[in-house]
C-alpha cells in the first residue's frame, strides 16, 4: 500500500512539473533537475516582502512553479560556452534553457542549483529585454574598498556585464527570492534556509547601485 501511495505521489509530482527535456539531456541530469524543481513546488511561506510580492507574488511553491513554467518550456543540453557553467539561455530561443553536466557534477547545495535556473529563467523574458545585465562599474569595490574579484583567478568583475542596477533583474530577483525563502519558508529545513541566506547575500553584491541595494536590504528587513 505504501509503495502504491509512493508511486502515485511520484506520478502526480511528475505531472505537476511540465518542463520538457531534449532526449540528449543525460537522464541523471534530468532526474536531478526534476527533483530540484519538484522541491521548489512544495514550499509553503508564512509571508513575503514587498519586492517579492511585486516580482513573484507569495512565497509559495505553486507561485514558483508558475513563474518557471511560464518562462521555460523546454530544457536542452549544452556546455553553455564555459567549463564551469551550470545553465544558460540564448536570447533568440525564448522559453528554452540549456543545462550542463556541471548541474550534477559540481557539489552545489540544492538551493544554489535552483538559484541558477531561476536566474536563467528570468533571462528568457524577451519582452523585458531579457533583463540584460548592467556593466559592473570600474572600479567595482567590495565593502573593504578592494576590487571585487574571482577568488582564485583574481579576474576582476569591473567592466564585465555581470551586475544588475535593479532588484528586478536576474541577480536582483533571485536575491529577493532566496532571501524570502530564508525568511518565510515554513517547511524548509534549517539547511535550505541557511543556504538561501548565504547565496542571496552573495548575490546582493552584484547590485551595483547603492540606493537599490539599500532599498533591497530595507525590503528584507520589513521596512
Amino acid at each position: 500500500m505504501k509503495k502504491l501511495m509512493l508511486t502515485l505521489v511520484m506520478l502526480i509530482s511528475s505531472i505537476t512539473w511540465a518542463v520538457g527535456f531534449d532526449s540528449n539531456v543525460p537522464s541523471d541530469v534530468q532526474k536531478q533537475m526534476k527533483e530540484d524543481l519538484q522541491f521548489i513546488t512544495t514550499i509553503q511561506g508564512s509571508g513575503q516582502t514587498k519586492f517579492h510580492n511585486e516580482i513573484f507574488g507569495q512565497v509559495d511553491g505553486g507561485v514558483y512553479d508558475k513563474f518557471f513554467n511560464s518562462r521555460v518550456k523546454n530544457v536542452g543540453y549544452n556546455d553553455c560556452g564555459s567549463a564551469n557553467a551550470v545553465a544558460c539561455v540564448i536570447m533568440w530561443y525564448p522559453a528554452k534553457m540549456w543545462i550542463t553536466d556541471n548541474y550534477i557534477k559540481f557539489s552545489h547545495p540544492q538551493i544554489s542549483r535552483l538559484m541558477v535556473v531561476f536566474h536563467e529563467a528570468r533571462h528568457t523574458e524577451y519582452q523585458n529585454g531579457n533583463w540584460s545585465h548592467a556593466t559592473c562599474p570600474n572600479p567595482f569595490l567590495d565593502e573593504n574598498g578592494k576590487d571585487k574579484v574571482s577568488i582564485w583567478t583574481g579576474a576582476k568583475l569591473a567592466g564585465e556585464p555581470a551586475c544588475d542596477s535593479t532588484y528586478k533583474g536576474s541577480y536582483g530577483s533571485s536575491t529577493v527570492m532566496l532571501k524570502n525563502i530564508s525568511k518565510f519558508c515554513a517547511n524548509c529545513s534549517d539547511k535550505v534556509k541557511m543556504d538561501a541566506d548565504i547565496y542571496a547575500t552573495d548575490q546582493l553584491g552584484r547590485i551595483d547601485r547603492t540606493d537599490v541595494k539599500d532599498a533591497m536590504i530595507a525590503d528584507f528587513n520589513g521596512n
Binding site: 564555459s82 552545489h108 573593504n144
Partner: protein
C-alpha cells in the same frame, strides 16, 4: 501450443535461476564487505562501516576513506541512536535533497560521539564534495555546545582551500563572470556554513558563558586570518559585531 508452453516454462525457469543467482551474488558481496569490517571492529562499528560505504558513493578513494573512518570509529562507541542518525545523514546525502524534513526533526541534539564521527567523515570526503562537507559542518555547528565542538570544527578552517569545483587542487582558468560568484560561494561553502551557524548562536544570545564566548572568539580570530577574503571578512565582521 505445447511447444510454446514448454518455451514459456523454460523461460520462467531461466528467469527464476537468474534472479536467485543475482540475489545470492548480491548478498555474497555485501557479506564480503561486512566481513572485512567485522574482522577489526565490534558489531556497532560494523553497522557504521556499511553506512559509511554507502555515503561515499562517488568517492574515488572509497577504500581509503572507509579505512580512515573505521580506524577512528574503533575508538568510539556509537549508540544505536547515533547509528540511526548516521544512517539518516547518509540517506539524505545520497538523495541530494537538502530539504529532507529529518534534518530538522531527527538530526538535532547530536551526541559528542556522533559529532566526532561526522567530522571524521568530513575528512574522508573528496575536497570537491563541498555540499557534503558543508552538511557535516552545518550539523555540528548548528549543535555547537562546547569547546570540544569547536575543536572538532577546526578542521573546516585548517584544510587547504578549494581552488575550483572541478578540481580543488587547481584554480580554474575559465571563469564566466556571469555566474562566477555562485561557484566562489560553493568553494567556501563549508566554512561559510560554519560561520553562519556560529552567527545564529551569537544572534540568539544563547551563549552566555564567558569562557565559552572566549573560546568562540579565539576560533573566529583564527578564521579571520584565513587566506580567502570571503571567509576572512565574514569572521572579522562577526568579531566586530559581537564585540567579545
Amino acid at each position: 501450443m505445447e511447444t510454446r508452453n514448454k518455451k514459456n516454462i523454460l523461460g520462467l525457469g531461466l528467469f527464476i535461476v537468474g534472479a536467485l543467482l543475482f540475489f545470492f551474488n548480491r548478498n555474497g558481496s555485501q557479506d564480503m564487505t561486512s566481513d572485512k569490517a567485522h574482522s577489526k571492529h565490534n558489531s556497532e562499528s560494523h553497522s557504521t562501516d556499511t553506512i559509511e560505504s554507502n555515503a561515499s558513493h562517488d568517492s574515488k578513494n572509497t577504500s581509503n576513506d572507509t579505512s580512515r573512518v573505521t580506524s577512528t570509529f574503533s575508538n568510539i562507541q556509537l549508540s544505536s541512536t547515533d547509528q540511526k542518525q548516521l544512517k539518516t545523514i547518509s540517506e539524505i546525502l545520497a538523495s541530494r535533497n537538502d530539504n529532507d524534513p529529518r534534518i530538522n526533526t531527527e538530526l538535532k541534539n547530536l551526541s559528542p560521539d556522533l559529532k566526532i564521527a561526522l567530522m571524521e567523515k568530513y575528512k574522508t570526503f573528496k575536497p570537491e564534495q563541498r555540499n557534503e562537507k558543508g552538511m557535516m559542518a552545518f550539523l555540528v555547528s548548528r549543535d555547537l555546545k562546547s569547546v570540544e565542538d569547536l575543536e572538532l570544527l577546526k578542521v573546516v578552517f585548517e584544510e587547504p582551500s578549494c581552488l575550483s569545483l572541478a578540481d580543488c587542487s587547481k584554480a580554474s582558468v575559465d571563469q564566466d563572470p556571469h555566474l562566477v560568484s555562485t561557484e566562489n560561494m560553493t568553494l567556501v561553502y563549508p566554512q561559510m556554513a560554519t560561520l553562519y551557524q556560529i552567527e545564529q548562536k551569537l544572534k540568539s544570545g544563547s551563549i552566555q558563558d564567558s569562557k565559552f564566548r572566549q573560546d568562540i572568539r579565539n576560533y573566529l580570530s583564527k578564521a579571520a586570518s584565513h587566506e580567502v577574503p570571503t571567509i576572512k571578512n565574514k569572521a572579522q565582521s562577526l568579531l566586530d559585531q559581537y564585540k567579545f
